[in-house]
Every structure is written in structure tokens, then in C-alpha cells.
């Protein structure tokens, strides 16, 4: 990993982060960075401390040691730098889709009409147009994930934190979602940090992948993905794709 001064300033930088729970080390000396408009993935075995890393970024947990910099400044008590999408979609069953989508804005103090005005232009892109009045249980799994993502994106914060957003979807829907994300991300210039345990998903979407060790989490490897964008079905059969996949699997299996 190169974190020398010559590189462009990172949007997010985690420096030597450690966190333990009553003596149980969950994160140990973890460093990584995400630059503006970059798509970065965290790949690691389950229980390794990936979600815990997100909890530190969102401020839900304080680090035991180390620090987080956003735009070069310590995160401190700032809570408004990251928009977080949890592992479960966490859509509120009593709110219609439109009211779930505006939840983040409402909590931030935006009035409901204004919040809806900001959500509306995104409905088409997220495949939710016409479903504003539906309840979450009336949507398919893929639509629920897209709704959760829209709720996250519309908060208009600097960085998206996505915790295994497609983990609960069937393989076909997941593949569709990945291609859709790739397309939308390019158009909207998002800065994304994604947690996944799906090697191919990580390669398909990322500019860079951090491989986490089993607990306590630290970075085993940092792999750049120089595949051209926009990525398509053909990308999956690119020899470079296969090579990176072999490399990542090797790293994961060797230590798992």
C-alpha cells in the first residue's frame, strides 16, 4: 500500500485503526484509503470485522487506537460525512416507499415536501417509479435493495458505505444489480466503500480491493483493478479479470 505524500489527497483515510471489545481484538492496525469518485471494496471472511470498521466510520463505535481522516481532517464527532446502507435493507414496514426514501432527509431536518422533491428525480433510475405508495413488503428483494440504496444516496453525503448490499439476493438478481450499480455509479460519480464476500462482485465493481484477514482485521492485500469502464458482461471473461480473481482467491484461501 502506498500512502506517501505524492499521491492525491484521500477522501477517506483510515490510519492504524484498532478496536477491541473487552479484550477481544476485532480490528488491529488497519489502514486504507478511498479517493474521490473511487469505488473501493473490502473483501474478507465473515466475522473478520468488516461491519465493525463501518461502525467506526459512522461514529457508532469509537476506535481504541488510530484515526479516521475525511478530506484530510480528523473525523472527530462529525456524523454527516457518510451515508450508510446496512446489511439488511432496514426499510420501515409501516412507511410507504416514498416515506422510507425520505427518511434520511427528514431526520436531517428537511421538510417532507422538499424531501420528496429531491427523491422524485431519482425514482426512474432506481426502478421505483410507480411504487411510491407501496409498502416495503409489497416489493421484490431487488427493489427493496434499490430502495435502501436510494434512501442512502439521497442523503447527499460525501461517501457511500454499503455493507453487503446484495448478500440476501438470488444470483440472477444480484448480477442484475451489479450491472445496474456499475452503470449508475459512472453517471453519478459516487465515492463508494463496499463490503462484500463475493470475489467476482468486488472485481466487477471496484477500482481497488482491500482483502481483510480473519479476526482481528488488518489488510492482507491491496489489489488494483485496472479493467476498463464501463464494465459489462464481457468484462467477466477478460483475462485480467480471471487473473485478479485467482490472485484474490489465493490470498483469501492461504490465510482462511
Amino acid at each position: 500500500m502506498s500512502t506517501d505524500g505524492a499521491a492525491p489527497a484521500a477522501k477517506v483515510e483510515i490510519r492504524s485503526l484498532s478496536r477491541s471489545f473487552d479484550g477481544l481484538d476485532v480490528i488491529r492496525d488497519l489502514s486504507l484509503e478511498v479517493r474521490e469518485h473511487e469505488f473501493v471494496s473490502i473483501l474478507g471472511p465473515s466475522g473478520s470485522g468488516k461491519s465493525t470498521t463501518f461502525s467506526v466510520l459512522t461514529g457508532a463505535l469509537a476506535p481504541s487506537a488510530g484515526e479516521v481522516l475525511v478530506d484530510g481532517r480528523p473525523l472527530g464527532r462529525r456524523r454527516d460525512q457518510f451515508a450508510y446502507m446496512p446489511q439488511k435493507d432496514a426499510l420501515l414496514p409501516w412507511r410507504r416507499i416514498i416515506d422510507n426514501l425520505t427518511l434520511g432527509l427528514e431526520v436531517m431536518g428537511v421538510r417532507r415536501p422538499e424531501a420528496r422533491r429531491r427523491v422524485r428525480p431519482l425514482l426512474e433510475t432506481f426502478g421505483l417509479a410507480g411504487f411510491e405508495r407501496a409498502y416495503p413488503f409489497q416489493l421484490s428483494g431487488g427493489m427493496r435493495q434499490r430502495a435502501a440504496l436510494l434512501r442512502t444516496v439521497v442523503q447527499d453525503r460525501g461517501v457511500l458505505l454499503l455493507d453487503e448490499p446484495f448478500g440476501a439476493l438470488d444470483a440472477l438478481t444480484r448480477a442484475q444489480m451489479q450491472q445496474w450499480i456499475e452503470e449508475v455509479r459512472g453517471r453519478h460519480q459516487w465515492t463508494v466503500l463496499l463490503i462484500t464476500h463475493d470475489v467476482r462482485e468486488a472485481i466487477f465493481l471496484s477500482d481497488r480491493i482491500y482483502v481483510f484477514s480473519p479476526r482481528p482485521a488488518s489488510v492482507l492485500a491491496c489489489v488494483d483493478v485496472p479493467l476498463p469502464r464501463p464494465r459489462t458482461i464481457e468484462t467477466l471473461t477478460d483475462p485480467a479479470f480471471t487473473r485478479i480473481e485467482a490472485e484474490l482467491l489465493g490470498t483469501l484461501l492461504q490465510r482462511g
Binding site: 456524523r79 450508510y84 446489511q87 410507480g130 411504487f131 405508495r133 413488503f137 409489497q138 421484490s140 442523503q155
Partner: protein, 282 residues
């Protein structure tokens, strides 16, 4: 937007209103048939026994006599139903306010929880037969003592329902709201209260079945009018038929109030009902 949209393999009614109305109503009526048959059989047996036995109407009047005498005295029954209903509603309103306030306190502070919960349980162990006359003694023969007794009897299931409902709040949603910048109060009203609503209605239904009886009991202990008083007078003049007619009125009141809770529940928590129906259909 009136047509049905198809999501995956499920039909999504836009308006949230059911399409097949009549079949469902018929099915619901059909479900009531067994209990109606039992009631009819019991009434028939009672009628036969009352007419053929030699017990005298002041001991066991026939159901037909109860019905006809009740109908003949309908004006008096109605005049005495009104004060009972008033006490029931006022007491229940107080019970809702107090029950909710207590639940908020208990949810907000562990100290309040430890201090209050045992006390609340103690209030439910008080023998009403001793308490009711005292409350009348302290607060007179007007509306107030009845309101207090109804509230005392009914607040507990409401509070317990709410408290357990808050505790069922989804942890992930709470974390999510916090990352959005939500404070305690925001989380309480946006997350905890809606989560608790189905539990609240379960408690409400238990509470409402006690409410009318509690009001009648309070009147029994001292009042100038009401079903409790009417019942007492009927008993003192050996009008067993009118006592039973009053009982029927009081049961009917409770049944209506019980049914009302379902109506209100469906209006307040439409998603619960819709999700349940979809679950049954698929």
C-alpha cells in the same frame, strides 16, 4: 393509478383496498356459525328448563322473558346505559393517557423502570371489592370515582403492551437512524412507537374487556344512576329477569367496544393487516 401493478409474482393493489369484497364478508360470517350454534343451543336448553322446571321466574326466568322484559324496559335501560358508557369512555381515555405516559417513563430511564414496574404490578393486586367503596368514599358519587376505577383496572395491559412493543424495536434500524443523525426523541417517535403499535393493540383489547365491567362495579359501590345501579335495584326487587337483561346489555357493550378496537387498529396500522393478507394469499 388504479390498475394493479405486478411486482415479481405478486399483485400490488395501488390503493391498498381489497378487490374481492363480498366473498370475504361471507367467509367471515361463515366463521361465526359454530359459536352461534353453541349460543343457540344453550339458550334453547335454558328456555326448556326454565319453562318445564318449577323454579319460579324470580329464580330462573326464561331467556324469552328476559328479552321481552328487557325490551319493555328499554327506556330505563338506555337511560342507565348512558352514564355507564360515559364513565367507561372517560376512564378509558384517562387510562390511555396514563398508560402511555408511564410507558414513556419506563422506556426512557432504567431507574424509572425499576421504580415503577413493581408498583404497577401492586396496583393490579388490589382487591377491587375493597378499593371501589373507598374510592367512592373519597371522591363522591359523581363521575370521578368511576373514571378512576376504570382507569385503575385498564391501564396495566396498555402500559405493558407498549413497553414490550418498544423493546421489539429493530436494532439495525436504530443504528441506521443514528447514522442519519437522529437523537433519542426522534428514534422514539420514528421507530419505537410504530414498532410498539401492534403490541399496544393487543394490550388495548385485553383492557377494553375489563372496562365496562369495571364501570358497573364502580357504580355498584356507589352511584346515582348507571347499569350497576339499575342491576342492584332490579336484584333488590327480585326482578331476576331485569338483572339478566342488564347483563346482556353490558356484554353487548363490551363486544361492540372489542370490535371497535379492530376497526381502529386497521385504520392506525394498515400495513399489518395488508402484510398479513398478502402472506395468506401467497
Amino acid at each position: 393509478m388504479t390498475a394493479q401493478k405486478v411486482v415479481g409474482d405478486q399483485a400490488l393493489p395501488d390503493s391498498g383496498v381489497a378487490l374481492p369484497r363480498r366473498p370475504r364478508a361471507v367467509r367471515r360470517l361463515a366463521r361465526g356459525v359454530p359459536s352461534l350454534v353453541i349460543v343457540a343451543a344453550l339458550l334453547a336448553g335454558w328456555q326448556i328448563y326454565a319453562v318445564t322446571g318449577n323454579l319460579g321466574t324470580d329464580v330462573l326466568p326464561s331467556p324469552a322473558k328476559v328479552a321481552s322484559e328487557g325490551w319493555a324496559h328499554r327506556a330505563e335501560l338506555w337511560d342507565n346505559t348512558l352514564p355507564t358508557l360515559r364513565a367507561t369512555f372517560a376512564g378509558f381515555a384517562l387510562s390511555l393517557v396514563v398508560g402511555f405516559a408511564l410507558s414513556v417513563l419506563i422506556d426512557a430511564s432504567a431507574v424509572a423502570r425499576r421504580a415503577l414496574l413493581p408498583l404497577l404490578v401492586v396496583t393490579q393486586t388490589l382487591p377491587l371489592i375493597a378499593i371501589a367503596p373507598l374510592v367512592v368514599l373519597w371522591f363522591g358519587f359523581a363521575l370521578l370515582p368511576k373514571v378512576l376505577i376504570v382507569a385503575l383496572v385498564t391501564f396495566f395491559p396498555i402500559t405493558v403492551g407498549l413497553v414490550e412493543g418498544y423493546a421489539a424495536t429493530d436494532r439495525d434500524s436504530e443504528v441506521l437512524l443514528r447514522t442519519m443523525g437522529a437523537g433519542r426523541w426522534r428514534i422514539f417517535r420514528t421507530l419505537r412507537v410504530p414498532t410498539a403499535l401492534p403490541f399496544f393493540f393487543a394490550g388495548l383489547r385485553i383492557a377494553i374487556t375489563y372496562a365496562v365491567v369495571a364501570a358497573i362495579f364502580a357504580e355498584y359501590a356507589g352511584a346515582t344512576s348507571g347499569l350497576g345501579i339499575y342491576m342492584q335495584n332490579a336484584k333488590n326487587s327480585f326482578r331476576t329477569d331485569l338483572v339478566l337483561a342488564t347483563v346482556a346489555v353490558s356484554s353487548a357493550l363490551t363486544l361492540v367496544l372489542f370490535g371497535l378496537t379492530y376497526v381502529v387498529e386497521r385504520l392506525v396500522t394498515p400495513w399489518v393487516h395488508l402484510a398479513r393478507r398478502q402472506g395468506r394469499a401467497s
